[in-house]
Amino acid sequence: MTHTFEFKQKSHLQPELLEAAWKTLNAGKLTGRWLNTDPETRGLAELVITQKGEEFSVGAVGAGSGGPIDWPITKAKALANLEEEAGQRAVALAVTFDFGYMKAEGHIRVNKGVLVIVMFHTFSDDSGRSNYVNREFFYRGC
């Protein structure tokens, strides 16, 4: 039987997308505790990523003025990653933290053992703060 798939770019037709294993490929490269490479960060100090089957959760710790600030543990969506070279491939995660007054949306991926998080912060209060994007790097903690 022949299937005809709709597409808007060639990569929509990539055969690997039909392989079930891609949905959690090398997920172990992401799971665990991660520490910011910048000890003076004013953003996220720590991330904890867990996996249960095809479900992923992300916990984060923000750098606070009087001590660390725990972010709510949030479910993340796993995405097959077509970006890296074959041996480096691992799923990427899309995650949204919603604080009510601020939403932080972004993605997490691992590149050569370094975890990279890119977050887009949107403020919905009247504080006058600009919505902003930030990228931070993490190494695997104990």
């Binding site: 990569s11 891609w22 600030i69 097959a80 932080a104 993605h107 887009f120």
Partner: protein, 138 residues
């Protein structure tokens, strides 16, 4: 002021709440990878304080025009008024694509999130690529 990371605790006043300068994002951005199977180029333009994106992607035979959509603009810090990134969504019916763009060292780093809404069994996937601004000087 509420904050979940110390970076978000900033002073804001009338001098920092004007319109955001989106000049650094405007223009035609070309994929650095000539063999890409994804987006070939992006045209970003400003219209009435909105930022709009038009995307041309690689098809089997020719470029596919995705049309244009409005984008949300982001700076690099909560106190900045200079654009440094954007997010937007294209809904194709059978799939939805979210784009997250961020400037880095003169390049536009573009993350694509493709979520299929049809019953094709295709896995949702992620691609990240680099784009250079076609400045027309050389």
């Amino acid at each position: 002021m509420q904050f979940a990371q110390i970076r978000d605790r900033v002073e804001t006043d009338a001098g920092t709440t004007g319109p955001i300068d989106v000049g650094a994002l405007s223009g035609m951005w070309i994929n650095s990878n000539p063999d890409t199977n994804a987006i070939a180029r992006i045209v970003i333009s400003e219209s009435e304080r909105d930022l709009s994106l038009q995307v041309y992607a690689i098809g089997p035979e020719r470029l596919i025009d995705w049309g244009s959509t409005r984008a949300d603009v982001f700076t690099f810090t909560p106190s900045s008024r200079v654009a440094a990134g954007f997010t937007c969504v294209f809904d194709f019916g059978f799939a939805e694509t979210r784009l997250e763009g961020m400037l880095a060292k003169g390049l536009l780093v573009l993350a694509q999130f493709h979520a299929f809404k049809d019953k094709s069994g295709r896995a949702d996937y992620f691609v990240r690529e680099y784009f250079a601004l076609d400045h027309g000087r050389y």
